[in-house]
Structure formats: C-alpha cells, structure tokens
Symmetry: D2
Amino acid sequence: MITYVNPTGLMSMLSQAEVDMLRSAASGKIYDLYRRCSLAVLNCGSVTDSAEDLLKQFHNFGINVIRRERGVKLEIFNAPESAFVDGEIIQAIQDHLFSVLRDIVFMHSFPALPPSAPGMDESTGITNLIFRSLRNAGVLSTGIEPNLVVCWGGHSIGESEYRYTEEVGRQLGLRHLDICTGCGPGAMEGPMKGATFGHLLQRDRNYRFIGLTEPSIIAAEPPNPFVTELCILPDMEKRLEAFARIGHAMVIFPGGPGTAEELFFLLGLKMDERNAGQPMPLVLTGPEECRGYFEAIDRFIRAAVGDRASQYYEIVVNDPKRVADICAEGMKRVTQQRISSGDSFSFNWTLHIDPEMQKPLEATHQVLDNIVLKRDGHDSELIVNLRKVFSGIVAGNVKNQGREEVAKYGPFKIHGERQIMAEMDNLLRSFVASGRMKLGGEEYTPCYELVETD
Amino acid sequence: MITYVNPTGLMSMLSQAEVDMLRSAASGKIYDLYRRCSLAVLNCGSVTDSAEDLLKQFHNFGINVIRRERGVKLEIFNAPESAFVDGEIIQAIQDHLFSVLRDIVFMHSFPALPPSAPGMDESTGITNLIFRSLRNAGVLSTGIEPNLVVCWGGHSIGESEYRYTEEVGRQLGLRHLDICTGCGPGAMEGPMKGATFGHLLQRDRNYRFIGLTEPSIIAAEPPNPFVTELCILPDMEKRLEAFARIGHAMVIFPGGPGTAEELFFLLGLKMDERNAGQPMPLVLTGPEECRGYFEAIDRFIRAAVGDRASQYYEIVVNDPKRVADICAEGMKRVTQQRISSGDSFSFNWTLHIDPEMQKPLEATHQVLDNIVLKRDGHDSELIVNLRKVFSGIVAGNVKNQGREEVAKYGPFKIHGERQIMAEMDNLLRSFVASGRMKLGGEEYTPCYELVETD
Amino acid sequence: MITYVNPTGLMSMLSQAEVDMLRSAASGKIYDLYRRCSLAVLNCGSVTDSAEDLLKQFHNFGINVIRRERGVKLEIFNAPESAFVDGEIIQAIQDHLFSVLRDIVFMHSFPALPPSAPGMDESTGITNLIFRSLRNAGVLSTGIEPNLVVCWGGHSIGESEYRYTEEVGRQLGLRHLDICTGCGPGAMEGPMKGATFGHLLQRDRNYRFIGLTEPSIIAAEPPNPFVTELCILPDMEKRLEAFARIGHAMVIFPGGPGTAEELFFLLGLKMDERNAGQPMPLVLTGPEECRGYFEAIDRFIRAAVGDRASQYYEIVVNDPKRVADICAEGMKRVTQQRISSGDSFSFNWTLHIDPEMQKPLEATHQVLDNIVLKRDGHDSELIVNLRKVFSGIVAGNVKNQGREEVAKYGPFKIHGERQIMAEMDNLLRSFVASGRMKLGGEEYTPCYELVETD
Amino acid sequence: MITYVNPTGLMSMLSQAEVDMLRSAASGKIYDLYRRCSLAVLNCGSVTDSAEDLLKQFHNFGINVIRRERGVKLEIFNAPESAFVDGEIIQAIQDHLFSVLRDIVFMHSFPALPPSAPGMDESTGITNLIFRSLRNAGVLSTGIEPNLVVCWGGHSIGESEYRYTEEVGRQLGLRHLDICTGCGPGAMEGPMKGATFGHLLQRDRNYRFIGLTEPSIIAAEPPNPFVTELCILPDMEKRLEAFARIGHAMVIFPGGPGTAEELFFLLGLKMDERNAGQPMPLVLTGPEECRGYFEAIDRFIRAAVGDRASQYYEIVVNDPKRVADICAEGMKRVTQQRISSGDSFSFNWTLHIDPEMQKPLEATHQVLDNIVLKRDGHDSELIVNLRKVFSGIVAGNVKNQGREEVAKYGPFKIHGERQIMAEMDNLLRSFVASGRMKLGGEEYTPCYELVETD
C-alpha cells in the first residue's frame, strides 16, 4: 500500500537544488537511519522497547523522497495501519515525518557555516549546531517569556508514578508553564498529558510541548501524541545540552542509572562556578512510595560530593503543587537574570558547559578504567566522572554497543576511593532492589564491578 | 475570604441600565438559584451527588454582582479553595461563573421579544427562547459545517465504561468532530477528554466542547473542565430540545431509566413522519460487557413499539471506530439535507418537536395514572408515553419532588397492556440487576408498580 | 436586475421570530426610511448633496428582507452599478447594508428594556439607547486603551483643506490612533484616508475607522469606503452625544455654522463644572489659509463667553504633527482618568450632558424667538443657546423644514445683547465672505436677522 | 544622535556564530553598500534622483551591527529625522532596515549550497539563488492561490499617469489581487496605493505588496510605505527574473527605454517555444493621452519582430477595469496550468529563461558593437538583442558607468538592418519628443547613433 504525504513547516518551501540534495541524501548512506526513524514515528501509537522487533514486523516498510516541482512529497510503502484515520495519516504523525526528514536528512546535507567560521572552536561549534537544529524545529521563539519546564524520568514506569507525573503536569499547565521532555511514553508523556488539562482549564491555546530525542532511542521512545514540536538531535550529549539551554526549570522524576546520569549532568552545570548567576530550579520529585528512593540519592550525593551539593536541588515528595510553585517562582528569577545579562529568553547562551561534557562517551572498558572517583580533586571533575560512570552502566544494561562489550570482556570496572564505592554500592543495590535497572521481570545481573582504589 | 472576578464574553460590555437590572435581579427572588449554580460551578473539581451536602459544606459562600462604571464585577465570599491557582480563580471557572450570571440572571431579566410577537404560539416561543439562550452562550456559529456529536450517558459509571467513552471520543476527535454532552462527569466527560487527544493528534485547535445543563442537576453534574461553551437551559425538556436541535449525530452510552427517557425522546422525534427527511444518526454503544444491556433495550423497543422502530437506531458493541465512522458519514448527509432545505447548519429549525414533548412533566400519581401504554393508537403517542413513564421513574428514584410523592402515596402505577407490561418488567428488572437504578450500593426498592390494563 | 446578499455580523444569526419581526417592520411604515438609507449606502462611490436627486435617479430601486430558515437575506432590485465588482456587491457595502438593517429596522423593532426599568429617567434612557446602538454596531470593545480621535469638519471642502485633513490623519495613524468621523466625504474622509497610511507604516492591522451618521444626512454624506464600523443613530442630538461619549480627543477642522454648532456643543460639555475632571483634548486646526477663520472664532468666543472659555480649546494652524501630539499626549490623561474613576475605556458614562442638550431642536420662529443671547446668566445657558442659534441657522440654510419656515415667515430672528450681536455679526459675515454658508456658487441670502435686545 | 533598533523577522533569532559573521561582514568591504542601502531605506519619505546628494546630505550617518547575547541590534547614528515618530523609527522602516541587513549582508555571508551541488549549472544556480532570496524575504508562501500582478512603469511620472496607476491598483485590489512592483515611487507606488483602497473595500486584511529592488537603484527608488515585503536582489537581471518567476500577470505602464527593456525581456520569455504552455497575461496600459505612445510601441514591435509578436500582449487604453478583468481572468488559467504541471503557485520553476538573459549586461561600445538587429535569424535572438540595446540606452542615459563610456568614446552605435533601424528611429524620436528619455527639463542629447548594416 502506497501513501503520499505533503510537506508542512520548513520542508514545504524548498528550492529544486535543495530537493535534489535531499533526495540523493535520503537514498544514500543515511537511508537506513532515515527509514528507521520514520518507522518509529509512524508507530507512535504502540510501545515497544526494541527497534529490532519493530523493523522485523514492518520489514516491507519503505519511504522515498519524491521530487515535485513545488517541493517534496513523501512516498510511503506499507506504513503501520495505526497511523491512519480514514485513509489519511494523522496530522501529528505527518508533521513528525517531516521533522525526521528535516533533522536526519536536511540538517545533514546542509552544513550551516563555512568550515572556517571565525572564532569557532569545537565547543562553540557544537552549541551553534544545537541552536540551529532547535531553530529549524521551531522550538525557539521570540516573544515568549521564560516558561519551559524540562521533565525527566523513565519511559517505562508504573501506573502510580505515571499518575503522579500527570498531576505535576496539570499543576504546571494551570500555571501557564510549557513542557519539554524526551518525548517518549511514561514520565515523558504524563506531564504533557496533565499539562494539556491544566492549559485547557486556563484557556491557554498556544501551549508548547517540546520533544527532544536522538536517533538511537527514537524507536524505543517514539514521540507521544502530545508533542507539538519535535527535534531529533544528533546524539545523547547534544540532546542533554539542548535540554539545559532551553529549559528554564528542571523536574526529575524517579528513574534508574539513566536518570542518575541526567542528574549529575545538571549538577555538574549548576556547581560550575561560572554558572553561579544562573537560576535554574531543579526539583527531584515523586509520589510517597518514592521517598526512600530520593533519600538514597540525596545520601549518595552528600556522601560523594559533599553536603554543599545539596543546595543545588530540592527534593519534593508527593506534592505536585509545591513542584509547580517552585518552577513558577523560579521563572521570575530566570526572566530577571536573562534581562540583566542580555541573554535570549529561549536559548541560554551564557550557560557554561564544559567541553568534556559535550563529548560523546564511548562505553568501553578502557574508557571506564581511566576514571577514578575520588574527592581530593575538583568537585567538577568528580561530578563529570560520576555522570560518565552512570552513562557506562546505562550502556552496559541496555545499549547494543555496551552490552557487547560486557559480554566479551566481563563487567565494567568502576574505580574509586573506598567511601564513595561504599555509597555507590548502596545506591546501585537500591536500584536493583526496586527494579529500576532494566525493563522486564528477569533477575538482574550487574554489568559492573566496584573497585576500591585505596 | 473575598475574591473579585472581571467579566468575560457577553457580560463584559453592559450598559448601566442592564447592570442595574442585573443587580436587582441577582439580589432578588432568584438569588438562591443563582448562588447554588455559582457554587456548583466553583466546585467543578470535586464530584458529589448531593446539592444539599455541597450547600452545607460551603454554607458561608456568597456571591454578589457589583456595579462598576464599566460593567459588572462578581464579589465572591468563601469560594471553594479548589477553584484557585495562585490566588486566582481558574479561567474556565471564571468563564462558567459568567455563564451562570448570563443564563440564570440576565436571560431572566430581559425577555427577548414583546409578549405579542406576531405568529408566535407557545411552541415556537419555546424554540425561539432556546435559540436565544444558545446564541448568547456562543454555542451557535456561522461558518462551521455540521460536526457536532451529542453524547449521552450516566454521570456515574465504572472505569471500563469510562474508558470506552474516552476511546469513542478519541475516534470522534480524530475525525475532526466536536462534542456536546450534559457537561458533567462520567459519560459526559469521557468523550470530551478522549476527543481532546483526537483533536490534538489532528492539530485541530478550534474544537468545541459544548455543555448543556439545567438548574436542577448542575450541582450533581457540575461542568467538567473540558467544556468550552456552557449553557444552562431553564428545564429538562428545553435542554432535551436544545440537544436535538444542535446535535448532528447522537451517541447513547449505557445508563438507567434516565437514558431510556432520552432514547424515547429521540425515537419520538425520529419516528415522527414530519421528520422523515431528517438524517440524524443515532448510535447505542458500549463495551463488550454491555452487550446484554443493549439486547434488552432492543428487544423491549421491538416488542413494545414494533420491529419498524429498530431502523431508527444502530447498536454497536465494543467498536469505537465504527461509532465514529457512522457519525462522520452521517455528517455528510446532514450537510446535504441542511443545504437542500435551506436550514441553518447550527440550529435545526425544521425538526418537528411535538408540543407535548416540550411540556415539563410533573411526576405525580395523577399524571402517571392518566397514561396507558398500548399499541392500538399512534406509535407517536405510545413513544411519548414511554418517555413520560421513564421520566416518572427517574423522578421517583432521585428527584426530590418525585421521591416525596412516592413516600407519601406509595409507588407510581405504570398502566399498560399486558405484553408491553411484561417486556417493561423484564427491562426494569435488568436495570435493577445491573445496578443502574440508583447510585450507592444499597438494595433497590422500586418506586413503581406495573399494572396491566387488559 | 435582482441581487441577493447574505448577512454579516449581528444579522447573521437570527431566530425565526426575529426574522419575522424584521420582515414585517421592513415592509411597514419605516420602509421608506429603510429604502432611502440602503440606497445611500449603495451609492457610496458617488457624491451628491441631494437625497431627492438620488431617489429620482434610482426610482426603480427596491430592497426586501427575505426569510431563510437560517436567517435573513436581502433581495435588492436595481442597485447602482457602482456598488458591484464582477457581479458581486463590494464587501464593505454589503456590511453597511446590514448596518442599515440593524440600526433602522432591528433596533426599531426590539426595545432594549422594559418601559419601566428601575431608575431610568428620560436622560439616562437616551444614554443607554445610544450605548446599545454603539454596542450592536461593534463600536464598543473591551481591551483597547483610549485611542479614538473624533474629527469634525465639512463634507464639501477644497483640495487644500482636504489634503490638510489627510495629513492630520496620517500623523494620528503614525501614533496608532483610531479615527471617528461623521463618516461622509471631505473632512470626514480625509483623516481616515491619511490614517490608513499612518497605520500601514506602523504595521497596525487592527485600526478602526468609526462612522457615526443619522438618517437625515446619510444620503448627502454616505459612508466613505474607509469606515470599518458604521452606526446610524436616530437623530442629530444622539449622534452628537455618541461622539462625545466614545471620543477620547476631538479635532475640529474649518466649517460653517454646522461646525460652530458642534463646537458649542463640546464647549458646553467642557465648561460644565460637573465635567471638570474630564480630560478631553479639543483642537481647532486647519492649513495656513484658515488662520483668519480661527482668529474670528476665537475672538467671538472670548467676546461672547469670556476669555475663560479659551482655556478649553487649542487652536493649531498648519501643524499636523502638533495636532497629533496633543491628541497622543491627551490619551495618557484620559486613560488615567478612566482608571481612577472606574469608567469604561470605550464609553464615557461619567460625562455629564445636560438634558437640554439631548433634546432634538425644532427650528421654528417660535423656538428661536424664545432665545436671548446674554451674558448676565450662567455661562452654560449662554452656550446652550449659542448652539441652538447656530443649529437654527444650519436649518434655515440647508434643511427642508427650516428652509420652508424661512420661506413662509421670513428670516429667523436672533435676539441678544448688543455686544454679542456685534460679534455675531462679524463672525457670520466672515462665514459668508469665505463661502462657508452654503454649497454651490450663488450669492448668499441670509436666513437670519440679528436683533439687539437692549 | 544614536538610535537602537531591535530585529524583526528572520534576523530576530540568530546564533552567536551567525551574529559574528554578520558583524564582521557588515564592517568589512561591503560596508559602503550596506550603509548606502540602509540610508536609502531610512529616507523613504523624501524623493531624490541622486544617491550622491543623499549621501552628501547625511554624510555623518552611520550604522553598526551590535552583538547581543540574544541576537543583533542595529546602532544608528544621525538617521534622517523623517524616519522617526515620537522618537522611534517607524515600524515599516525598521522592517526594511532588517531586510537590507538580510539581503545585503546575511545572504552575502552564507552561501546556500556547497559549491559542487549535484546537477547545478550556472543557470539553475542563479534561479536557486533568487528563490532563496525571495524565500528569506517571506515573499514565497504556500497556501495562496495565484493572485500576484507585477506592475512596471516609471518612478517619475505626471499627476495624470499617477492617478491612472492608482485607479488600476484600486480595480486590482477590488478583485483581491496582490501587487508586486519595483517598490519605488511613481508607477511603483500608485498601484499599491490604489490597491490598498480596493482591498479595504473588500475587507481583505492580508494583502501583500511586494517590492523587488537592487542595490544600484534603491537610493533613487527607496521602498514606498506600502511595501509589505521588501527583497533586494543582487542585480538588475536577477530582479527581472524574480519578477517573471513570482508574477502571475504583468501590467506595463508608459515609460521610456527602461520600460522597453522590460517589455522585450518579457516578450523574449513569452515567445520562447519552451514557454508555450505558460499563461502569463501581459497588458500595456495608460490613460487616454498615452494612446499614441502605445501605438508607436505596437508598430515598432510588429515591424521589427513581426505581427506574430502582437499576440503576446494586449494594449488597453484608459480602461482600468478592463486591465483588472484581464488579470483576474488570467489567474484562473495560471492556477490551472500550475496544477496540471505540478509547479509551485508562488514560484514559476518551469518558466524557461535563456542563460543569455540571466547574464548581467555591461554597457560598453564593444558589447554593443557586437550586436546586430536583424530579422533573418531566430526571433528569440532578435528579441534578446533588442533588450540589450534598450538596456544600453538606459545605461548611456542615466547610469554612471554608461555615461562615462559615452563621455569618453562618443555615442553608442546601434547596428541593424535598414528597416528595423528606421522603425527604431521613429520610436526613439517619440520617446525624446514626449520627454521620456531622462528626468529634468533640459534638452536631450542622444547617447546613441543608429547604424544601418546593409
């Protein structure tokens, strides 16, 4: 079955030259990636954890970029039936299809700047690339006062946690706040669903639900139906930076090592002295049953990094209104700071992000063996390393590349001084105990070993 | 605690003379009604079945219309805290408060037409009054093609039925259809909630969720947060007529005698020969577990009214897509009929409603004793009488006036020929068996007795 | 040739009962008035000073209100060809046709309030009627800060004066100010034309050009094409009150006795002590060649009423920017006053207008004989009388009723004390000398005689 | 005096890297051009024929691009006072300033495509560049049916011709047609001014007045206040191509050799067989007094190119309605052709433009000596040559480079066969006689000599 889709947004007004490049790119070496992401987007109704299953199920799915005098059309073969109503693809999915074309193919074909742009080092180059991706996606806009809350949390959570994220979303929406998440299901969907009601109650009609994703997870976490602006960043680190630069307040729901990775990424930014003037409310929150979880996190941070670190986040248990109040109140300080520093409301240029944090981490034994968690250096180094370690555990648990490493060479070794290792042990055990390490019901075999260095 | 609210909509631009009349009306003999409806609207978050409990709980609640040079303000004492966010009343509730002021006070103070308007009999007078109420409420609009689906069903339903109504709503929204319900919770909320997602997925931003209510039920069924246009009609019969004149397709979810009353109201309209050219899709639908319920209804109608009646409705079990497809397909025929008859898209003037159906029914023994259910007269008479009988049972079950009658003089007597009485007995027993007669868990004591007349 | 027009605005959503009344009204005793005003509006392209010529030219013109299930249609016979483009009536003219239907027929058929509304005397009744007419015409709106400049002046002026009014309009538009005029050609069109460019340059797209007229002059001064909201008030005095209540600043261009009438109306309001707190900038302005004209006016006012009166207006010769600056600056004070008095931004309820000024003046010898212009009473009485005297001269010059009076009984007698009569003589002679008494080139025969009373 | 202006449109959301490049570009070798164009735009109120006079008058004018964290700001020194109202630069001028920044600086700094884009020859490269310029300027838009009329004619015309262009504009606006001109005064302003009224009368609020200009003429023809979208193309030939690709109908008012150049450009396109299927109405029109002018043009074309050529244009004398009707009727055929060829509504990709016509012409003796006007070759060659010859005369008359050539080496030689030369002589003499060769009142000394080649 063949379907044709007409472009929307940026893709609706292309020159012939741009169409030519787009077509040759979409049928070239990035075709596989393009096809996979398109399929994920078309499949947004159903949830799966496995991109492979999806590809197998729709093995005869295909997508072509067709040239029309007036622009491009997509020619789609054998799309999942769930994407259709009355023989037409649901409009949100059509939009997402063109977001994929834009971010995977168009951005790839058209480098923004001449290679030798003046004053561009690698780090500012990355930041500018992120800015450009977000701008093309319509995520950045002039004329909106700071009101964007980034919500992080697992894509596969229980009914009770889901409802909690929904209620937090409702309270945020009631305060006219917009939402940005990783755009998948679970804690990435709940806040948007809840905020929809909140905004409806306040008669807001122009709310934004921004979804940021990246190619390696889009299949497992296809954009949920609430996402109004979808942007696919090139990799995880750029996605994290995008969150940090567009979010005005941050809410973290319970999760496993992935959530810990995100938390240490933010903590690293907030504890960087160069970001001292940056008000960026950071709330860790969940329903009553998560109290122990957050206590464990808090204890670990205080033990590993020091009590000082605890001033950079606030833990709120079972109080969605309080979460929303903290965010709403924080917006005023953010607005004030942007005005006084002359920075953009929609993109935090002045936030300093260490080049080390921008680099994609490759989860190998060699990389992890070079990391030692210890408190006698700079705080910032320890925090950067903590993020890497949790990133490594995530990879060893669920990413193809990491899992292969572990299968071949055994568990990753996590090195560190005794006390940190002890606390780390407690924390990881609590993750295991509460089933936060991996999906599915099987018993968990750790992909890591803790090694004391002193 | 005192709160002030500024007017929106029609109430935002009043002359001094209008404000004067409004103030004297709102502080006069309709004050009780006005205060009660305002409180119900302010309490929309919580659900209660008892207006009395609500009034007791907020006994010190008060509301005044204040005169300002530039119009009116509402001065509110001790409003329920749930109506506030950050010290301000939620916008949707503010809008609803001014809908109450408009429909209860303003409409009451300003008769639309001179008493002796030419060519106005009582019946056309009622229809014109309904039109005016709906127009003031912003429910009628030029320029929208027929797309309004009326959804009926109980306000207190189980989780599974609620989810079914939600899914039907989602499928309607995906087809760009708008929703009109009795505006309370349960089956009046589910379709709107679901349609919100459907519309979001199709990027519709101007959808309408119309809520029609009346003073005696607004406390038990306060407008849910999804309602975008609220209109309070003077009584149940005018509300039923309003549904029939603005709805382009009708969906009935499972319910008790109240739902049966509505069904026979519609059946009466559809079987009236003068409405032969009126395409008005009527679907009875519910999840799988309701199959028996609908079979009982169907059997009763065929037995009582004749097989012929069954052509006027379609029963769809457990198939939300099919429900939505029937509605969507019906819209085309409705549009065609309106164009060819020159009738308004938004108000069905040519629909014939028997003056007998427009009259408010008083549920007394005397009234019911004068009704005999028999098949040897006109179909239409039998159907009108069936509606009245079910209306009487509803009153005997849950309305103050009806319950007092029953308490004083014993159960209402339902008279009819043998075969109809037998089928009636079956149907009512099935309602009792499935707990559809009344809320709460107590055993049900029938408020009626069936009496064979031959 | 027959044309059909579909309704817009308020007339697009009528009940059947309203349509019935409208039809019977439009074919009844007000039909002549209705037909005449409709023809004037259809003829807006061409300019004529004589309603009679127009009616003669289009003697076979006819207009009917047709009943449609969905509202009304206009059926028009033999409309002026200038009203059509490609066989369809120009949209602005269609809108104006329905404004005529609304103001002449609809307003007439539907009295707003029960006769015995509480607290309504004749004067407040008039004000409320005016409010209602303006509201129905969409002239009043919430949410716009004071920005409306009323411009008065002749409908038949020279090229140079026209260009001056245009430039004043441009400067007003450049300052985001909206315009309200008597809606005809000449000084009523120039400011709107000019303001169109001003608003375009400032990228304002929602500017308003409000035209207020009344039945006896609409033929001679049909609404110009710039008018975005047209309202036909019942008579001249209500039209003057409407100007005073919605205008936030007043600009008067050169004219004859009619302009003098308007000036004394405003002066009467401004010198009324009860209006002491009302900031309402009043500017008399024209090109260089009008300097003498304004000096004569100024001298007359100072001599007749006293120097004190001169503080209430400002004369600006040949400086459009200064005119616009005075208006723009005045808006701030008006806004402040409305906020502090709690009055509406769009309708000045607190402005006191003497009931004597609200009464329609009948220009007869008897009425004028009862007026004596003298300075030993109250200022306000003198000013009210001055307005009446100029109104009488206007009638004697150009209105049918007044001209017949003069033809039968000789010139009107204007009575007053010596010094005022002397100044009056000067002023009237200057009007005669500069050809401001009447249109056309013939020599002017005064319709008045000045009579000294002491 | 220093003023700061905040960006609008595309320039309002720039990355830091883009700002850096913009700043270094704007202060580099294109600074002179940038400053000159900015000054022209700021001076849009006044008319001058001499860029040099303007620069002299505002010798201390300066403009800088300032870096802000959130984008760019313009810092302007000593701008012409006419650009200000109440101390702020008029919004339209602000927009135009950022159009200059975009087209002169931004477009210059960011090449659209990698040099070696596949399938790009020089000709398609030019077309793609033009497309990109127009898209950035917001000139291209999806969702608007063909409705753009290109109007050409002189920037310095008499009152009567100006009024004629205004009336043609009014008739176009009444038919909902949009206007595109060279964006200066005279025949480039009249149609826009007239169309403003036409659109107002039809209540169109989203009309577009597109102005296309190029750096060498912007000072003499600064964008008039009606222009809603301004685009500065790199040179005259690209501007001509832009007109041809976005215009759906063409209207040519009387002019001199410049207008003849434009006419032969269009005639060249229309007579090209590859454009046989392109409906592009072409009307030559003016008031009665121009009848002789158009007869001379017509006679020349028929004599030089053949009667066949006359089918490609229509001459309409003194009939604005007919002009508008031809355009309106043509839109239907254009729409049909675009749909059937799958071409864009807003950019005519399928129009074939000979690479020879895309090349900038350098007006030198050598270039002109190589041109021989003769009829024994292809029509298309003759027409291309005719355009070049008239372009040469324009240069010899008014452009700096051309005038210097003539001053140094004597008149340009125009070579051609006898009969064409004879007709040419007639035509040029008629231009001279009616003062269309040059502005100013002095006697005209021809910059050309006609030379018969046989």
